[in-house]
């Protein structure tokens, strides 16, 4: 084992899975020129995680953000290095709890809004104890089979 990689979970260690991307069609009979390019691969870590130092994962529970494409039990990727702006889906700290909402700016006021009807928007300025914990950048949703 590479002795350097084992002590940091942030290093690109053996957990990185590279999926080879080959664009050439492979012809039978003689060696494929594509083999020379096999080291080009898609690393999902690189694609989904821009800034490992500030990236955290959270598990979603609940359905209030379904309209934003975030479902119960999804794996949420949060990047704290992003400055929250209007339109971002953010993890906010409200009364000692994580809550997932969309940050909206309306006439100089910032609101936190669930992507669901009949959910009142929260005016940030009415709360003393409120903090944006991070900006959600991806939600990983497991596709389940349904009965045909």
């Amino acid at each position: 084992m590479d002795s350097k990689s084992s002590h940091s979970s942030l290093n690109e260690d053996s957990s990185t899975i590279l999926i080879p991307l080959v664009t050439e069609t492979i012809s039978a009979g003689f060696p494929s020129p594509a083999e020379d390019y096999i080291e080009l691969g898609i690393d999902l870590n690189k694609y989904l995680i821009k800034n490992p130092i500030s990236t955290f994962f959270l598990r979603v529970s609940g359905s209030s953000m379904n309209n934003a494409g975030i479902y119960n039990n999804d794996l949420l990727i949060i990047d704290r290095s992003i400055n929250p702006k209007s339109g971002h889906i953010v993890v906010a700290l409200l009364d000692g709890e994580f809550t997932l909402k969309r940050l909206i700016k309306k006439q100089d006021n910032y609101y936190l809004r669930a992507d669901k009807e009949n959910y009142p928007a929260i005016n940030i300025y009415e709360y003393i104890d409120i903090q944006i914990w991070g900006v959600a950048i991806y939600s990983i949703h497991e596709l389940k089979k349904t009965k045909a």
Binding site: M1, S3, S8, S14, V60, S61, F98, W133
Partner: protein, 425 residues
Amino acid sequence: MSKAILQIDGNNFYASCEQLIDPSIKGKGLVVLSNNDGCIIARSSEARKMGIPMGQPYFKLKNKLTQLNIKVRSSNYELYGDISNRLMQLLRNNCEELEIYSIDEAFGTIKRPKDKCLYQWGKDLRALVYQNIGIPIAIGIGETKVLSKISNHLAKRIQNNSGIFDIGIIRNKDPYLNLIKVDKVWGIGKRMSIWLKSKGVTNALELRDMSNDQIKEKYGVVGLRIQNELKGKLCIPIKEKSSDRKEICVSRSLSYPIDSLEELSQVIIKYVLIASAKLRKYNQSSSAITVFTNTNTHSKDFFKSEATEKLSFPTSNSKIMIDKSLSLTKEIFKPYKKFIKAGVILHKLQSNKYKQNLIFDKQDIQEDLYLQRLDNIIDNINSRNGIDTIGWGSSIIEKEWRPRRKKLSSIKTTNIENIPTIYAN
């Protein structure tokens, strides 16, 4: 341009990590307990303000903590390690040199534009760390390591919690050094501070101004260096590579007293495995091993014993060390004693880069290589699937004596099964 030395540490680091991932305890009284839930090893600033002391046994304060509604957590080292790695990487990206000093502490360097205060630079770094990683840090800035450490104390004490102090631009440092008690000066141990106090030296200013003959006579170059650093002369360089550790010690309190040789051996082997895996991680070898154990320090018939033996050649191999430690455990064991603590120390560590193989005979090398491969396989499996997935038969430990972590927050940032949940209801 001159070089400024930085000393950076996480405020109430363990407590801050817990509060980062569990918002229900953010801004509240919180203490973190040591292994086995024995003592209080970290306090949130709120708990500190409520007068909860450091290092006290948990059972003594249990009632008080409940009364004050202070939350209690077992130490969650997986989490602290992950946050520490993030912190150090971010610091490394923002400093010129970085020496990681402990899990929550580092020394660094940065260029100082002529006579310019680095307060704003520190403020930006502090904000960057808080935004990216979510923990507060304090930054001390000075001309030397000793002064930057003093600066860090001052950052926490007099700068209204802004967390930054730059003593490097202050011409007359006397009033500030006057505030720092001599035993708080970096590098001054307990014994040295007692000696200094007997000479009438009580604070950093008096230490800087005492006769250097006196300090040299008693403490040689080591004492002189600290004094010179206080004067602003850089004597202790930043060490970027921390791999030159000299020994590894693994010791724990046992969750219940042990009085049989068999059980003590199993505990020792367990610690040998932890220590040797660490050794391999840092690509080092050890050439001597010590095992030690003791009964309750407060009991009338307090008993402790230790034994050391050289290894026939430097190694990091678990099997060789298990064999050696088994015979050493027989030496330290005494019947009818109830042991409550045990440990293992690996000494005379050296980097494998400089290992000389040629002087050993071929048979040994062959076996060593075989055992190395075996170790690699075990380390790989354990690093992928979690500590203790695979081990040595002789180390099979009953669950009961694993360290007690009753108050452990199950939340971690390093395991997909244990990540925090966010409610979107």
